[in-house]
């Protein structure tokens, strides 16, 4: 019944609009205003541009200022300070251009709206002007690019030797985190060794370096020391995105990638600073990867270096939690593995 009533209402509304439309068409024909070059609507449209300029401009400033703390994400890495600075410098430069060009774009229609008594100025070209507005943007852009290029080179430079290595592997639809253990060297991996139950990363335990590798449900990293994410994917493309670290790198099956950075604030410090006890650093996926793309969450916990060392010692390698992993190894490796297992018990 309601559906019927709504349909009747919509129908009535439409026919009303229809009649208004017909009447105004007829009136304009009678008045002869459709024969004029520019009707009275010209003034209205010209004025609306100014109204839009003021209204939309005001709205933009009001919202940008009011919401600043909301959209400006807390920052937790060294290189992030550089890229954030570049971002805001670019924002200032483009913001000025944005405002000036829009003021001109919306004031001109008002100022130069059609007037029968006036003739437009015949002004086909001016090479000097063209040169100016080619060269000036070129110079400004060059400055912006050089800043970006320097930052980009630093960020993508090889990681320092002492960087703490963490492997992050994307799969549908989660991240598997692997630490290299005390030797700080990750063991080899092979996708054919993947076993969803006990070896999701496909670690090759016949490599000695793999024996002390361990996994963790949370990415724990020390503050103030370089951390190297070794990134890969097992099935389709994923992308590691740690928004607070200003970090993003695709995870590609068959092609390892990396990203190194230095965290600047522990989770606890950040919580205190923001006055938010719930705050956590997070990893999300930013490359479309299927049904669960929106749910690939991992937490990063940044701790003091001393606390990190403590934590490292507490972790138990894959093979300690699951001795079956090394059962089929050749005898010399098996012995080594058993010794490692023994040490942790």
């Amino acid at each position: 019944m309601y559906g019927f009533l709504i349909a009747v209402g919509v129908l009535l509304l439409l026919s009303l609009i229809w009649m208004v439309y017909r009447i105004q068409t007829l009136v304009s024909v009678v008045k002869g205003s459709d024969k004029k070059i520019a009707s009275s609507s010209n003034k209205v449209n010209a004025l609306l541009f100014v109204v839009f300029l003021i209204g939309a401009g005001g709205l933009m400033f009001w919202y940008s200022i009011k919401e600043f703390d909301n959209y400006n994400l807390p920052l937790g890495s060294e290189h992030g300070a550089v890229t954030d600075q570049l971002f805001w410098i670019t924002m200032a430069v483009t913001g000025i251009v944005f405002i000036i060009t829009h003021i001109l774009l919306f004031i001109f229609p008002y100022k130069y709206q059609y007037n029968e008594k006036r003739k437009a100025t015949f002004y086909p070209d001016n090479n000097k002007l063209e040169v100016i507005w080619t060269v000036v943007p070129a110079v400004v852009l060059a400055i912006l690019v050089i800043g970006g290029w320097k930052a980009w080179s630093d960020i993508t430079a090889p990681a320092p030797e002492n960087a703490h290595v963490v492997e992050i592997m994307g799969y549908q639809f989660a991240w598997e985190v692997r630490y290299p253990g005390l030797d700080n060297v990750l063991g080899d991996h092979d996708y054919r060794l993947v076993n969803e139950v006990n070896n999701p990363s496909g670690v090759d335990f016949s490599d000695r370096n793999a024996l002390d590798d361990f996994t963790s449900p949370v990415v724990v990293i020390p503050k103030g020391e370089p951390v190297l994410f070794k990134i890969r994917a097992r099935d389709v493309l994923h992308s590691v995105f740690a928004p607070h670290m200003r970090l993003k790198m695709d995870a590609v099956p068959g092609m390892p990638t990396r990203f190194w950075f230095t965290p600047t604030k522990t989770t606890a410090e950040m919580r205190q600073e923001l006055g938010d006890d719930e705050f956590v650093y997070e990893i999300a996926c930013t490359e479309i990867c299927g049904r669960g793309h929106f749910s690939m969450r991992r937490e990063i916990r940044v701790v003091e270096p001393a606390e990190y060392q403590e934590w490292l010692k507490e972790q138990k390698p894959y093979i300690v939690n699951n001795p079956a992993l090394v059962e089929n190894l050749p005898s010399d490796l098996k012995e080594l593995a058993d010794i490692t297992i023994g040490e942790y018990k």
Binding site: T83, F87, T101, P124, D125, L129, W133, L141, T257, H293
Partner: protein, 629 residues
């Protein structure tokens, strides 16, 4: 026109005969007339725009109102709405994918280039038709077939392709990874193959026609900027679409014939390790973006060309910096081929390559900036008439600025680390490419409707349509900048899984509401378009008092466009408000010798030369006539 009856080489009386033989099928369906083909592209483009827009409303419902009970959509979407009234996440991805594919290729490439290149090139350069009418017809019908296949894919049990409009493998190669990569992806690839063929057929035609069939006097330096834009667009398409075909072909091999161009080291949950090794998903991205980036300009350049024409006409002023505009477009054309990897800064490619592409990318911002400044100067001290086409053109310039400036952030690889694949990117390209090109399309339709259908569209409805759409587009896409700076990733079904993105539900709701209103406003246009086609006010021959050749044709130009000889051209297309002239426009067909009062010094020198040519022409004409009689 004083010169309309002047002789050009070769009489073409036989053109009249064709018209009378037209039946319904050859006139409206398998037409080889460029005007009809242009209209076919337009109507098909409008159809796809409605579908593409509707799909976006569906996923905006999910994003803006995540708790909404969508059971009322069950009659339409069936199993894609589960029993709890929630949209299926796989179908969400399919919606996003199809929205992108349809809008980029079917609406803004075929619907824009296809319509106006076909309709305007012969009319504005003074040609009877395209170089090959048959190829032109094929171009439309390949597009039509492509559309039919894509449309069918929407109704598959496993849904259409769902890997994003870029269809990156391995996701798009493996049915096990997402159901849309099964039959849906197969149909996507077949449809795109037809589409590429259609684009190439059209493009070859546009290029050949512009080079070879210009009327007497229509040198390249007298071409309207629309034609320059369509010409360069066709060149870009011709060079880049084959690369997309190569990318698609290798993907077909990987999907169906067990090759490993893009696949390596893959373990699929529940199935095990795949045998493929040695491929590179990044290779696909290079190939795809080698088309994908020029595609942005394929979409944008025609819109900029249309805008140049509309702004000049309605400012009653020559476009400022005609040569600079051409040089900018040439620059954009060339540079568009060497910036593709800026889509891949964080794809894992060599960071050194990233540095190179960052420099190249920011160079392309310069010609774009020049164009904006030239538009502004054209408005300056003009005598502006706000036809709906003019409003849409000014709107385009606004979007081009807003979206172009955010490109400077994204082209900077250091800043792009944070912004890549967030809503900042969504805001950027929807403004600079999506909305700007859409506004170009609308400007074109309002401006050339009288030439297409011999009737006027209703201007007031046009104003309402413009203001609702203009404000609506900003309300939809401007807030996305904030959401993007806050780090919200693209193609997310919901953001509540993360602490950092568990906010802005109000803003997303606002965006969705604005999107629905903006979409609804398009029905005003639809009504205006179809109603005016049959019941609109009869148009005059040159309703906008414009200078270009298409307005010298009869109200309903037949096959061959001009009943008599094709008019010759004596001047550039932007003689508006020339000092000394009586009217505020002088058509391209008016010889300089007929307007001594308004000629500039260098033009006065050309008059003598022109007179000699005209005298020669008349001799030929007289000779021909005496032969006939």
């Amino acid at each position: 026109m004083a010169t309309a009856n002047l002789a050009t080489h070769g009489a073409t009386d036989h053109d009249h005969d064709h018209e009378h033989h037209d039946n319904f099928i050859t006139k409206y369906i398998f037409s080889t007339d460029h005007k009809m083909i242009g209209k076919q592209f337009l109507v098909t483009g409008i159809f796809w725009a409605l579908i593409g827009g509707f799909l976006s409303i569906l996923f905006r419902l999910q994003l803006g109102f995540p708790d909404m009970d969508l059971t009322f959509l069950k009659p339409l979407l069936g199993g894609w709405i589960d029993d709890a009234g929630k949209l299926d996440p796989n179908f969400y991805l399919a919606l996003v994918t199809m929205h992108g594919t349809i809008m980029v290729f079917f609406v803004l490439t075929a619907g824009l280039s296809g319509t106006f290149s076909n309709f305007l090139i012969p009319l504005q350069i003074g040609a009877r038709d395209m170089a090959s009418g048959f190829m032109n017809m094929l171009s439309y019908w390949f597009f039509f077939v492509s559309g039919v296949i894509m449309f069918i894919s929407l109704f598959l049990e496993n849904g259409p392709a769902g890997g994003g409009w870029v269809v990156y493998p391995p996701l798009s190669a493996l049915e096990q990874a997402i159901p849309g990569s099964g039959m849906g992806m197969t149909l996507w690839l077949i449809a795109m193959t037809f589409f590429i063929a259609s684009s190439l057929l059209g493009g070859i035609n546009y290029i050949t026609t512009v080079i070879n069939l210009r009327t007497k006097g229509m040198s390249f330096s007298r071409l309207p900027l629309t034609i320059w834009a369509f010409f360069l667009t066709a060149v870009i398409g011709l060079l880049s679409f084959p690369v997309l075909f190569a990318a698609a072909l290798l993907l077909v091999f990987d999907r169906s014939f067990g090759t490993s161009f893009y696949l390596s080291d893959i373990y699929i949950s529940g199935e095990g390790a795949l045998p493929n090794t040695g491929g590179s998903p990044v290779l696909y991205q290079h190939l795809f973006w080698f088309l994908g980036h020029p595609e942005v300009y394929i979409v944008l350049l025609p819109a900029l060309g249309i805008t140049s024409e509309v702004i000049a006409t309605n400012s009653r002023k020559p476009i400022f910096g005609y040569k600079a505009m051409i040089i900018s477009m040439l620059g954009i054309t060339i540079l568009s081929f060497v910036v593709w990897a800026h889509h891949m800064f964080v794809s894992g490619m060599n960071p050194f390559l990233g540095s190179i592409f960052m420099f190249l990318t920011l160079i392309i911002a310069i010609p774009s900036a020049v164009k904006v400044f030239n538009y502004l100067t054209t408005l300056w001290r003009g005598n502006l008439i706000f036809t709906p086409a003019m409003l849409f053109s000014i709107g385009l310039v606004s979007f081009f600025i807003s979206g172009g400036l955010t490109g400077i952030f994204l082209g900077n690889s250091a800043i792009d680390i944070q912004l890549h694949d967030t809503y900042f990117v969504v805001a950027h390209f929807h403004l600079v490419m999506g909305s700007a090109s859409f506004f170009g399309l609308m400007a074109g339709v309002y401006h050339w409707f009288p030439k297409m259908f011999g009737r006027m569209m209703d201007a007031r409805l046009g104003y309402i349509h413009f203001w609702l759409t203009f404000v609506g587009v900003y309300l939809v896409f401007f807030p996305m900048h904030y959401i993007g700076i806050a780090g919200f990733p693209r193609r997310y079904y919901s953001w509540t899984n993360f602490e950092f993105s568990n906010m802005y539900t109000d803003l997303n709701m606002f965006v969705s509401a604005a999107a629905i209103i903006t979409f609804a406003a398009q029905f005003i246009f639809l009504f205006n378009f179809f109603y005016s086609m049959y019941r609109g006010r009869k148009a005059s021959l040159n309703p906008w008092r414009s200078t270009t050749l298409e307005w010298t044709t009869p109200l309903f130009p037949g096959h061959g466009n001009w009943p008599g000889e094709i008019p010759a051209v004596y001047r550039w297309p932007y003689d508006y408000s020339k000092p000394g002239a009586k009217e505020d426009f002088i058509m391209q067909t008016v010889p300089l010798s007929a307007t001594p009062e308004s000629n500039l010094p260098h033009e006065q020198e050309l008059v003598k030369l022109e007179k000699e040519i005209i005298a020669e022409e008349e001799e030929v004409l007289v000779a021909n006539e005496s032969k006939e009689s």
